[in-house]
Point group: none
Chain length 189, copies 4
């Protein structure tokens, strides 16, 4: 048929990339504040300070927005852990370093952490989010393995994941010493 026009290159039009990113950031804030289930165009528009139509203009569907928001949240987290690993050079006490990483994740990086774990739950029923969450797991495991060895790194990766999941819920912050002793145990071979 002639009705369907397929023209132009394969490149997706970028529209206003800055605004698109700003909306994604606003979505992270909304998810951290209200949860994935309460992510709506209206809340995101209000948070980002853009008109309602702008959110649907830059993201064809709400799932598209969710996808980018969660991708950004996990990328931030990976960047945070990579900075941490880079600073590890003259830091022979890995258990203490891991304790600090966890503490940072549940304090200054709390929003990104919460949104990251919201990803797991959401991805369970949304295939489009799978690749982002699997990539996140893989990246973190890769970094921890790089600091230690294959098995230890994997153990640390799941332990950190479990800790962050549980600590996200808690109002209180665990003691550095307790965290350190836990990781010391994991590294004691």
């Amino acid at each position: 048929m002639t009705a369907e026009r397929v023209q132009g290159g394969g490149r997706r039009r970028a529209y206003d990339p800055a605004r698109r990113e700003r909306i994604a950031r606003a979505a992270i804030a909304v998810i951290a504040k209200h949860g994935v289930a309460d992510l709506t165009h209206r809340k995101v528009a209000a948070e980002a300070g853009v008109p309602l139509g702008s959110t649907t203009y830059h993201f064809a569907t709400l799932d598209d927005l969710l996808e980018l928001a969660l991708l950004r949240a996990t990328q931030d987290n990976v960047a945070q852990v990579e900075r941490w690993a880079a600073g590890l050079g003259g830091y022979p006490d890995i258990p203490s370093a891991l304790a600090d990483l966890v503490l940072e994740s549940v304090t200054t990086q709390r929003d990104e952490t919460i949104v990251g774990y919201a990803l797991y739950t959401a991805a369970l029923h949304r295939p489009s989010l799978r690749s982002a969450s699997e990539a996140w797991d893989a990246e973190l495991t890769r970094i921890f393995v790089g600091c230690t060895d294959e098995t230890t790194g994997q153990l640390i990766a799941v332990a950190v994941c479990g800790l962050l999941v549980q600590l996200s819920l808690s109002e209180s912050v665990p003691s550095r010493e307790w965290l350190r002793s836990l990781f010391a145990k994991a590294l004691a071979s």
Copy 2:
């Protein structure tokens, strides 16, 4: 409000004392299938084979239903882990036993596991779910500590949590050997 209302229930079934529990079980199935965000009265009613009004009669709000569903899911999980611990007596190889526990959780107990972790995410924004999720954490930690020692038990608890969160997402099941080596590492002191 009153005028023009000619309605009211016919009656199909007789008094059914188990109905409340049945609805809660149906909610677990719905959450496992569709996620917390898609838990609706309609889906639960269809799953439980009860009329729509029945779900709102027995649970004044959807949060009330969520609360019982998640309580039951975590209680089931704790019972499973307690059976596992009880069977541990003549089982000197704890790493292998833990590997089996994890494998069981992501296969035959998959629904309860998925719903349990959906709890964490949901509890983040619903204070009424906090106590159930915290109780779950505490119970599992208690059991694992009982099998080993204080620090090791806590490490295993967070590692199991992290593993299950990550494995829930995966279509594939990890090898028993890989899981065993991970736990062997955690127990190697």
Copy 3:
């Protein structure tokens, strides 16, 4: 929340700036016909000839709609009384004029009158309607005081109010002569 939703509006009509007012007018008609208690989005939408979603788009809550409807009804009534007062110039017989005003209110202006008094009852339990009802009282009193004197005007205001409340209920219309004699009494000082 997002998954499985494939919905969204087709679009029938173009931008209609008068729609908000039209919905408010339809609400007045519905209240006159069914009472405040039976004011529903559905009835208003049917009366106004707009889709259901349009009523909730233009009025976030039913109370918002009620507020504008009652404001318009009382404004109409004040305008009616003001026209009446303006035509009073060469009309030395105020009792007869008042009788005509009351008769007009329960015949050609019956809807607005009924809706106005529905306001009082509704305002009793809805603070957002208070200002409109108090403004109405004050306006009418002001006009009647302007035609007579302070005390007489106030007496007429409450007598007219009481009459209209009682006559709204009645199927029959009182005689002009009876009304005239009542007001003659009030003005006989």
Copy 4:
């Protein structure tokens, strides 16, 4: 047909008359507090301290309950005004006496007054309430006419009605002096 049994006398079964009255009183309280539109079996049952089923057992429909509640409210009001008229004997100052009546109606008798006027609005769209509201009007007019004369009594009746309608809304209570002067004007012939 034989299926329809019409047995027993014409007398309606009384069940438990005390409870029936208690429920009607509770309904008055609910209407005063929430308005006619929010009169529900549940609220009445809670207010009366009886089980939910009791309200539907004693009143076949909600409209039946509304009917008795409003009848009682207006009967109370008529009784109040009759006591007032009876005490008028050695009370030559009728304007002051009327002021006191109005003040009592909006203070100690406030609930019954509010419910009485809710009657007007409700009766507008519910034929079953018409007779009670018309009887109320007639009774009050009869009493006021008995204290004065035909026309004056009718004027007072509508003025009192208008005053109470307007004062029900107001948080503040008018001064006795202002009320007295208003009635003095009405009686000054």
